[in-house]
Symmetry: C2
Subunit: 297 residues, 2 copies
């Protein structure tokens, strides 16, 4: 409770996460690019900071929750960035989903100032952020993890320290690999059921009781059947996550044929302007390819 807490990035995910920290009684120093995003936080009793550097000056533990690798690099290394304000002994916790390789570089640059970086990407989407039940996959120094754990526990439920710097991001990459495949599989299953005239609702119910049971079948399977693609987790961000996975695979020199295939579906979906739909809308691409639905337009 004594640590002063910073939070940079108050979007769909960051805002409810920061609000949960505030509600738990923490002194909160926030920054967001758009001033409007800070207003509800100020109303909730947080202090608004003019720059990431300013938030870093105030905070002992500083969370970052933005969209992509370049955003985190800008927040930490850019002009008036976190690195300019951070004090020795502080911990920066990047909860964005970004490149594991970039994470290691950022950790080095912060270490030069005596600060530590945890990479702590999450799974569970907006609903998980609001309810404080996110899964949090954490990489970085174990002592820093132990220090931040009480704050993680305000935001999430399944919190695992998986290894050194970057390990959290790799774990999140693994999560997206698994989710993407499962989603594509459920999509092909629904496509097959529909083409044959089998009620996809009955198919889903039958599969939920057996070896095909998965969270994706429960949640995204239902969305595909209902053609209800309100997010959820946006296709645009899913595509970004798979880009990171495939960049990582290239850097590691490994082949991920299935992930490469599914990433193409997201390219087609986002390329036609559907990036704001829930990621389960990849079913629209399968329908188009499968010859059952209208072309993705």
């Amino acid at each position: 409770m004594n640590d002063k807490v910073g939070f940079i990035g108050l979007g769909i995910m960051g805002r409810p996460m920061a609000l949960n920290l505030r509600r738990a009684g923490h002194r909160l120093f926030v920054h967001a690019r758009r001033e409007a995003a800070m207003k509800p936080m100020i109303a909730a009793g947080a202090c608004a900071c003019a720059s990431p550097a300013e938030a870093a000056r105030q905070a002992d533990i500083l969370f970052v929750m933005v969209a992509d690798t370049p955003d985190v690099e800008q927040v930490i290394l850019g002009r008036d960035g976190v690195r300019d304000g951070i004090r020795a002994g502080s911990v920066v916790v990047d909860m964005s989903t970004i490149s594991p390789a970039a994470t290691r570089t950022l950790a080095e640059r912060l270490r030069e100032r005596g600060a530590e970086l945890l990479d702590a990407p999450v799974s569970g989407g907006e609903a998980g952020a609001i309810d404080g039940v996110l899964s949090i996959m954490v990489g970085g120094p174990e002592t820093a993890f132990a220090r931040v754990l009480p704050l993680f526990e305000v935001m999430g439920r399944n919190i695992i320290h998986v290894g050194g710097s970057g390990a959290g991001q790799v774990c999140k990459a693994c999560n997206q690999i698994a989710v993407s495949h499962t989603m594509a599989g459920i999509g092909e299953a629904i496509l097959t059921a529909k083409a044959w005239g089998l009620d996809p609702e009955k198919m889903r119910a039958a599969l939920l009781g057996g070896s095909a049971n998965s969270k994706v079948l429960g949640i995204h399977g239902q969305r595909m059947i209902d053609a209800d693609y309100r997010p959820g987790f946006k296709a645009d961000l899913h595509r970004k996550d798979l880009r990171i996975v495939l960049e990582t695979a290239q850097a590691l020199g490994i082949a991920l044929p299935g992930t490469a295939l599914v990433s193409q579906y997201f390219n087609a979906l986002v390329g036609r302007g559907h990036g704001d739909l829930d990621s389960s809308a990849l079913f629209r691409v399968l329908e188009a390819i499968g010859g059952l639905g209208p072309a993705v337009d």
Copy 2:
């Protein structure tokens, strides 16, 4: 309890299923190609029949549990087959996983003799058969389903009537599409974790708590991590199931790119003589492709 029950096919799956029926007190008439397979059933109080026709003559409800489409066709339409012995008013229940199109033809041929066919493929493997907790996906006439349901309840736990003749097989096809994709996804995730130096056990534990949670991650993920490929469900049969899926897709005129990809892994695995391994051994192919493991040999 009054119906006389027949059971044809006493292999890894059929034998424990038939034993459960016998233990539940049903009069049982069994047939298997290999005489040795009938011995434990005779010891358990079942009557051995010399042919499928003979079992059909005795039984009011006759189960078939063999490997593939041609096996079921042989059992039902072949010399001394079920069709030669079946009485009007009887129900044949094919619990094998075979072609939905062939199922419809078989149903017509039995209807000519006044008998009905249910297609009732299962999910859950040998363990599910032994414990009587199989998932059973049933297609065919609803009245026949209602009549057989008490017997299904001896063998399974999640029993769903999904539609008309063939619908059970299509549902099983959907199950295998979903399971295959999920398995490949978990495989690529473990490959990525290993290549980066992230402990795959920790990765699995983290993913089990979030949106990537699935039965496949729990069961097959552990087998891949342990390289423990004792079956389980044999790669050979998984390959056969995917062949049926892709034949069905061709007949329906739909594209299933992911299933087509995963089926190639099973071709490689089985082609090198590993058909007797558990289907999760597809991870060996991913390792070989991925450049981490030894070639599949």
